[in-house]
C-alpha cells in the first residue's frame, strides 16, 4: 500500500495559515480560504513536491442533504407514495457556502495524495484564484469548472466554455439547472434549418432520493 500524506509535516508547514487538516476515507484533506490558495499551493508544490495536479472538482452544495421522500413517521393513511420533487431554495445573492472546489494533488516523488478544499468567494459570480501559473494542467480543468459550475478563476488567461455548445447559456452542473436542460434542437420544416426551442419533455420521477442511516 502507498504511504499516506504525512499529516504532521503538513500541519507544521501550514500552521501559520491556521488550516484544518482532516483524514477521511483514507484521504488527507486540507481546507483553506481562497485568499490563501496561491500561497499554499506554491508551498505544496515547492516544499512538499506535489508535482501533479490530477483534477479540479467543483461542487454545488445547494441541495446537500435534501431528500424527496421522508418515511420517518407513518401517518394514519400509511406512507405517502407520491414523490415530491426537491424544492430549489431561493438563491442566496452572496453564494455563502454554496460552491466548493476540490483539488486533487499527487506527488510522484513521495508517492502521496492530497485533497485541497476551497470554498469560493461569496461574491457573484463565485470565484477562486487560478492555479494555471503553478500547474499547467489546471488550464482545462478550470475551464471545465467554469463552464459547468460557473466558477470564475481569477487570473486564468483564457477562461472560455469548453464542453457545452457554442452560445450555451447557464451552467449545467449547478443544482438549480434542470437535468432536462432548457433548450432542445429540432428541425424546422418551414425554415428548413435546425432551430432551438424550449424543451418539450418534463422530468419523470425515478427512484426517490432517500437518506438512510447504516442501521436503518
Amino acid at each position: 500500500m502507498y504511504r499516506q500524506s504525512d499529516t504532521k509535516a503538513l500541519e507544521d508547514l501550514l500552521q501559520k495559515y491556521e488550516i484544518e487538516v482532516s483524514m477521511n476515507q483514507s484521504n488527507v484533506e486540507i481546507k483553506i480560504n481562497p485568499e490563501q490558495l496561491i500561497e499554499v499551493a506554491t508551498l505544496l508544490k515547492s516544499n512538499l513536491s506535489f508535482e501533479l495536479l490530477m483534477d479540479i472538482i467543483a461542487v454545488d452544495y445547494l441541495t446537500y442533504g435534501d431528500v424527496d421522500w421522508k418515511t420517518n413517521n407513518a401517518t394514519s393513511t400509511g406512507y405517502s407514495r407520491a414523490v415530491k420533487p426537491t424544492i430549489i431554495p431561493e438563491i442566496d445573492e452572496t453564494f455563502k457556502g454554496r460552491f466548493a472546489v476540490f483539488y486533487q494533488l499527487l506527488s510522484v516523488s513521495n508517492n502521496q495524495r492530497l485533497t485541497l478544499k476551497v470554498f469560493t468567494s461569496e461574491s457573484n459570480p463565485p470565484s477562486v484564484p487560478s492555479l494555471v501559473n503553478i500547474w499547467s494542467s489546471a488550464d482545462w480543468f478550470e475551464r471545465e469548472a467554469f463552464d459547468l459550475m460557473g466558477i470564475h478563476f481569477d487570473g486564468h488567461p483564457d477562461l472560455r466554455r469548453i464542453l457545452t455548445d457554442y452560445g450555451f447559456i447557464g451552467h449545467p452542473f449547478r443544482k438549480d439547472f434542470p437535468t432536462n436542460g432548457n433548450l432542445e434542437v429540432v428541425y424546422d420544416e418551414e425554415k428548413e434549418e435546425v432551430v432551438y426551442q424550449t424543451v418539450s419533455i418534463s422530468t419523470r420521477p425515478g427512484v426517490p432520493r432517500v437518506i438512510r442511516d447504516r442501521n436503518d
Binding site: 484533506e29 490530477m54 472538482i57 446537500y64 476540490f102 427512484v207 437518506i211
Partner: protein
C-alpha cells in the same frame, strides 16, 4: 511579399481525429503556430445524470466513458463506492477484476496501435490488431453477455463467476460444419481455457506487429522526435500512464499505489527515454506483453482458488433467487435493492486506477443518500488533449496526426 498566417479547420468529422475533435489551427505555411482544440461535441452530462440515479444504475454509464476500455472505467467507480461503504470484495473477485483490467488494457492498446498505424499509413497492422481484439470481445461476451458495455463489476465483487463453458459457433447455410469446427477449436473448455489459449498465442502476435513497425523506416520517420515532452513538462501538464512513462518517469499506480491484488503479481513497468511518439509506442507495445503475463498469473490463481465472487451482505447485493422463495428477509432485501438501492455514508473519496490511457479517477461525494451527490470523473485523455497545443507547436500539419494518435484519446471520456 508578406506571408500571412492561415487558419485551418480540422474535424470534427475527420477520420484521423479519433472521434469528434475539432481543431482550429493557425499555420505559417505548413507549420503549426497555434492550435485550439474544440471539444464537447460528445458531452452527454454523465456526471449530472449519475446524480439522479441510484449508485448501481450508473455502472453502465461508466462503460460509455472510455468506450474502448470499458471495464477499466467501471473499476474506479466501483472502488469509490466500496471505499465509502467500507466493504471489500472477495479475493476471487479481485483477481477477476485484475484479469479483466488487463484484457481491457490489451484491447485498448490493440485499438490504439491499429488506428495509430492506420493514421500514419500502416494499413495492414489495423487488420491484424482487430483480428486479436475479436477474441477479447468474446471473453467479454462470455462473462457479461455484452461485447462492449459489460456492466460487470459491482460494489462488493463482480456480477457472476466465470462461466465453465464458452459459447460456440453453430453451422448454418452460410458456415459449413468444417469451418465451424475450425472456429470452435479453442472453445471446447471453459472461459479460462479460452483466455489461456489467447495468452499463449499473443506474444508471437505482438512480435508480428513489431516486425511491421519497430524498425520500419517510414514508421520511425513519422514518430521519432515528434511530440517530445520532457519529464518536467509531462508532470506539469498532468500526464499519466504511458504518456508519463514515455517521458521516462517510472510511475504506475498498479505498482506505486497498488489496488486489488496487483501487489501479488509479477510484472515490469516499461519506461521511455526521449519522450517522443516512438518511445510511447514502444512503452505501449511492451505493456501489452506485460499485461499478457499478468493474465497468465491470474488464470493460474483463478483455476486453483474457486470461491465466492461477491460479498454476502444483502444490503449491497440482491439475494439469491432460491433464498427469496422461502425467506421473508431476503424478499425484503430484494425489493429494497431494486426499488431504492443502498445508501452510501456521508463523505467524499477519490479513487484512481491505472487505466490503459493513464490515471482514471472517480471523485465521489455522498451526502448519505442512495444517489451520488456529486460524481466527477478524472479522464486521462482530457489532460493529455489539453497538451496538444504545446506538443504540436512548430511541427508540420502531418505531425499533428501522429500526435493525436500518440495521445490515445477517446472522446467518450474527454467530453463525458
Amino acid at each position: 511579399m508578406t506571408e500571412s498566417n492561415l487558419t485551418l479547420n480540422f474535424g470534427p468529422q475527420h477520420p484521423a481525429a479519433h472521434g469528434v475533435l475539432r481543431l482550429i489551427m493557425e499555420m505559417d505555411g505548413e507549420v503549426i503556430t497555434n492550435l485550439d482544440p474544440h471539444i464537447g461535441l460528445l458531452h452527454r452530462g454523465t456526471e449530472k445524470l449519475a446524480e439522479i440515479k441510484p449508485f448501481n444504475h450508473s455502472i453502465g454509464y461508466m462503460d460509455r466513458m472510455d468506450y474502448v476500455s470499458m471495464m477499466c472505467c467501471e473499476h474506479p467507480y466501483v472502488l469509490a463506492i466500496e471505499s465509502l461503504l467500507e466493504i471489500e470484495p472477495p479475493k476471487r473477485a479481485q483477481y477477476i477484476r485484475v484479469m479483466y483490467d488487463e484484457i481491457t488494457r490489451i484491447m485498448n492498446h490493440l485499438l490504439w496501435l491499429g488506428c495509430h498505424g492506420l493514421d500514419i499509413g500502416a494499413m495492414a497492422l489495423f487488420l491484424y490488431c482487430f483480428r486479436e481484439r475479436e477474441d477479447l470481445y468474446d471473453a467479454y461476451e462470455a462473462v457479461s453477455g455484452a461485447r462492449m458495455h459489460a456492466t460487470y463489476y459491482r460494489p462488493g465483487g463482480v456480477y457472476r463467476d466465470l462461466p465453465d463453458e464458452m459459447p460456440k459457433y453453430k453451422a448454418n447455410k452460410f458456415i459449413s460444419e468444417k469451418k465451424v469446427k475450425k472456429l470452435n477449436y479453442n472453445r471446447a473448455g471453459s472461459l479460462l481455457d479460452f483466455i489461456e489459449d489467447f495468452t499463449n498465442r499473443f506474444p508471437s502476435l505482438v512480435d508480428e506487429y513489431e516486425t511491421l513497425l519497430t524498425d520500419n523506416r517510414i514508421w520511425k520517420q513519422r514518430t521519432v522526435d515528434i511530440g517530445v515532452v520532457t519529464p518536467e513538462r509531462a508532470m506539469q501538464l498532468g500526464f499519466t500512464g504511458p504518456m508519463l512513462r514515455g517521458s521516462g518517469i517510472e510511475w504506475d499506480l498498479r505498482r506505486n499505489q497498488s489496488y486489488e491484488v496487483y501487489d501479488e503479481l509479477d510484472f515490469l513497468i516499461p519506461v521511455g527515454v526521449n519522450g517522443d511518439c516512438y518511445d510511447r509506442y514502444l512503452v505501449r507495445v511492451e505493456e501489452m506483453r506485460q499485461s499478457n503475463l499478468i493474465i497468465q498469473q491470474c488464470i493460474k490463481w483463478l483455476r486453483a482458488n474457486p470461491g465466492p465472487v461477491m460479498i454476502e451482505d444483502h444490503k449491497y447485493r440482491a439475494p439469491k433467487r432460491d433464498s427469496m422463495k422461502h425467506d421473508m428477509e431476503s424478499l425484503i432485501y430484494h425489493f429494497k435493492h431494486f426499488t431504492e438501492g443502498y445508501s452510501v455514508p456521508e463523505g467524499n473519496t477519490y479513487k484512481a486506477i491505472e487505466h490503459p490511457k493513464g490515471e482514471f479517477g472517480v471523485f465521489l461525494l455522498s451526502d448519505g443518500a442512495n444517489k451520488p451527490y456529486r460524481l466527477k470523473v478524472r479522464a486521462p485523455s482530457f489532460a493529455h488533449l489539453a497538451a496538444i497545443d504545446e506538443m504540436s507547436k512548430g511541427h508540420m500539419l502531418a505531425d499533428v496526426v501522429s500526435i493525436i494518435g500518440t495521445l490515445d484519446i477517446v472522446f467518450g471520456e474527454i467530453d463525458r
